[in-house]
């Protein structure tokens, strides 16, 4: 049976009296690989922020595993991980310390403190960093000293260490070269198998490039804060895309 993990009902979000999301209904089921398409300003980032609980909707309800989002405890909320468009890494920390931050949801305060003092265990962080094709030489480097692509992979490694059930990613392929884009997409869609690594099997990724749709099984198109189409990848036609671009 396919479980509904996340559910949005009649969700609206207003920013400065202007709707950025307008009565959106959405169900995300376990195992789905969803591509979220739309022009800049279509409401993709707002939708992701509502899905991960960063923004509270003005109207409607958000449910995770059939529970209202506001009533969830921290461990339930940590089932969702996010890769932000602007990465949002802590610039003053090293790459491995940033990746270890992904474990905060499962660890005690002492772990957080030891991580900041650089005396915690980095085994798990290193496993995920290697999985994201990051070289050992950059593990202890400060984030400020890394290239754009390296930072992107650190952000991915951080979200993967959360070992969440759902991964939300907001335009994670921006400013990356084609080879790196393909590598990162494969990581996020879990096409590379590894027993030690748990990659969320449910993924929602917002995209601009249509050539990256391979590997997704569901496509959602957005325009002006509304979902214009929501269909299986095989049913996607050119006129659907014309509606949103």
């Amino acid at each position: 049976m396919i479980n509904t993990l996340l559910e949005l009902k009649e969700v609206s979000y207003k920013n400065k009296n202007k709707f950025t999301l307008n009565k959106v209904n959405l169900q995300i089921k376990s195992g789905e690989k969803i591509a979220l398409l739309g022009k800049s300003g279509a409401g993709k980032t707002t939708l992701i922020s509502i899905l991960n609980g960063t923004l509270r909707p003005n109207e409607g309800s958000v449910k995770l595993l059939n529970n209202e989002f506001d009533k969830l405890n921290l461990s339930q909320k940590s089932k969702i991980s996010t890769i932000w468009q602007d990465l949002r890494l802590i610039e003053e920390l090293s790459a491995e310390q940033n990746v270890n931050c992904g474990l905060l949801g499962k660890q005690t305060f002492l772990f957080a403190f030891k991580n900041l003092l650089n005396i915690s265990s980095f085994n798990k962080a290193h496993q995920y960093m290697q999985f994201c094709n990051l070289k050992k030489s950059i593990f202890s480097k400060n984030i400020r000293k890394l290239s754009g692509g390296q930072k992107q992979r650190v952000a991915i490694a951080r979200s993967l260490t959360q070992e969440s059930d759902i991964l939300l990613a907001d335009e994670p392929f921006n400013n990356l070269d084609p080879k790196l884009t393909s590598n990162i997409k494969n990581l996020l869609l879990n096409t590379k198998n590894n027993n030690k690594i748990k990659v969320p099997n449910t993924t929602l990724i917002s995209l601009h490039r249509l050539d990256l749709l391979d590997g997704f099984n569901r496509i959602i198109g957005m325009k002006k804060g509304a979902i214009l189409f929501d269909l299986e990848k095989t049913k996607l036609k050119k006129f659907h895309l014309n509606k949103i671009y």
Binding site: S49, N52, G53, T54, L74, S75, K77, S78, I80, S81, T82, W84, D86, R88, L89, I90, E91, E92, L93, C101, G102, L104, G105, K106, Q107, T108, F109, F111, A112, F113, N115, L116, L117, N118, I119, Q162
Partner: protein, 500 residues
């Protein structure tokens, strides 16, 4: 006719106009009674006294100074960080606590910050008598609040998006909080916290002048007995101590130390904070504080404002603060502009170092050798001491910046001073004025010390009221000081936000 337009560069020079009333008052109060003493004071600076007895006293006094300064610095940093976190918005956002608690805490911190450590020292000495702990507690009270303000401002600068991303990991709240505030706290500690040790050494010295102990007490005793050679031995050793402490602290790099050392360091900090807190509670509740019982008198107070020209003293204090600020802002750029060559700059650096080294109360006592006590004299002493501090920052910023505009102007044949003004100074004027706005907060607080020594303003009245245990007067004076400092801080805050 064109309208006069003010810009940050011209605003920096304008306060020099305070020199007109200052020069007039200094001229009519001038006397030559202490010129010989002044000459002896200057000559003694090159011939300090060195013998076994002096060295023994010096080591003992330096030891006291280091202990008071280091311990008060350490405690004020630890509690400054704690209160800095507690008074930042992020703390209440992450822990979902009502924001009115933050406002209440900020109000409390603003009040204790607005009163100078010397005033706290004088009050505590009057209540508990002369005691080694007085120095530490007196410095810690305002320093904790000052440090808390700086740490909290830096914590507030954390990018909102970073907060969201870490919150979204949904770790326990304390882990989320420490992960977010750690970097700004460490950065602020490195950039600001280490410099506070020098401030603590200076404050310990000034408190020593009032009898708390340490090298300040020896400096004051030497001055009172007109033993200037001995005085300079203490002043030069103080300079040596400040230089050594700066050099040592710059060598500390928390991130490159071994894990074992770091863990021990954190455990030691934790133990010190626990010990300090328990000692503070013990000190407050377990010491004999009989004089303070007269606080009950407040309820049946017959306090009369007019009886000692309270408003006149208040006005004098404000004028003293404004005149000193005028000197502190305008003197450094004017002198750098006039003496704009290598030798001139070296002379300015040397004089500024001396004015920073000599505590303002000693400076005013030196000036009293050839002038009667007046607001102007107190303003000169306070202004010069602070101008020495602002000049240090201005010189560092002027000559560490990009000089392409300056060299381009020089290559066009523009005169040296004009090139300096339009090529170097103009780029620093904004940040210099913003720093001076912050400095004027400190000047307002420091008027208290000068008042005590130079018989002007509320400081003088405070000394009198404390000596006669007139607690109702003390309370009114404290609130007056606090009000002036808070109003000044609000005005300066507006100025700073317009400049940056």
């Amino acid at each position: 006719m064109n309208k006069l337009k003010l810009n940050p560069s011209s605003i920096t020079f304008l306060p020099v106009l305070v020199c007109i009333p200052l020069a007039y008052e200094l001229f009519i109060n001038f006397h030559i009674g202490g010129i010989e003493l002044f000459k002896e004071f200057i000559i003694s600076s090159l011939n300090p006294k060195i013998n076994n007895e002096i060295i023994f006293t010096l080591l003992k006094r330096l030891n006291e100074t280091i202990l008071i300064a280091f311990y008060s610095w350490l405690i004020s940093i630890i509690f400054g960080i704690i209160f800095g976190i507690l008074s930042s918005e992020i703390f209440y956002k992450i822990l979902n606590l009502p924001i009115f608690l933050k406002r209440f805490l900020n109000l409390f911190l603003t009040f204790i910050r607005s009163i100078h450590e010397i005033i706290w020292g004088l009050i505590l000495m009057q209540i508990y008598g002369i005691n080694f702990s007085i120095g530490i507690i007196a410095i810690c009270i305002p320093y904790v609040a000052i440090n808390a303000k700086v740490f909290s401002e830096q914590i507030e600068n954390i990018n909102l998006k970073t907060i969201e991303s870490i919150k979204q990991i949904n770790g326990i709240k304390s882990s989320t909080l420490i992960t977010l505030v750690w970097s700004p706290v460490i950065e602020t500690f490195k950039n600001f916290g280490l410099y506070r040790l020098e401030c603590a050494i200076r404050s310990t010295t000034v408190l020593g002048l009032f009898g708390v102990g340490g090298i300040g007490t020896s400096i004051f005793l030497s001055f009172q007995t007109l033993n200037f050679r001995e005085l300079w031995t203490y002043l030069w050793s103080l300079a040596f101590l400040i230089i050594i402490s700066n050099v040592l602290l710059k060598k500390i790099n928390l991130l490159n130390t071994s894990k074992k050392f770091l863990t021990s360091f954190v455990i030691a900090l934790f133990c010190i904070s626990l010990f300090s807190l328990s000692f503070f509670v013990y000190f407050i509740f377990n010491k004999n504080a009989i004089p303070f019982n007269s606080i009950n008198n407040l309820l049946i107070s017959n306090f009369n404002f007019i009886s000692y020209d309270f408003l006149k003293l208040l006005f004098e204090t404000i004028i003293l603060g404004l005149l000193s600020t005028g000197i502190a802002i305008s003197f450094p750029p004017i002198f750098i502009l006039i003496l704009n060559n290598k030798i001139g700059i070296t002379i300015i650096r040397l004089i500024a170092f001396l004015f920073r080294l000599i505590p303002a109360p000693i400076l005013i006592l030196v000036l009293l050798m050839f002038n009667d006590p007046s607001i102007s004299l107190a303003a000169i002493a306070l202004g010069l001491h602070n101008a020495a501090i602002t000049s240090k920052l201005l010189l560092a910023n002027l000559y560490n910046q990009d000089k392409t505009q300056y060299t381009a102007m020089k290559s066009l044949g523009v005169a040296n001073r004009s090139s300096w003004l339009f090529g170097l100074f103009i780029k620093q004027a904004n940040s210099y004025l913003a720093y001076c706005a912050y400095r004027s907060d400190i000047i307002i607080r420091e008027t208290a010390i000068l008042g005590v020594i130079g018989s002007v303003g509320l400081g003088w009245q405070l000394q009198e009221s404390l000596s006669s245990f007139a607690w109702e007067e003390v309370i009114v004076i404290l609130f007056s000081y606090s009000s002036i400092a808070i109003i000044g801080e609000l005005i300066n805050g507006k100025i700073k936000s317009n400049l940056t």
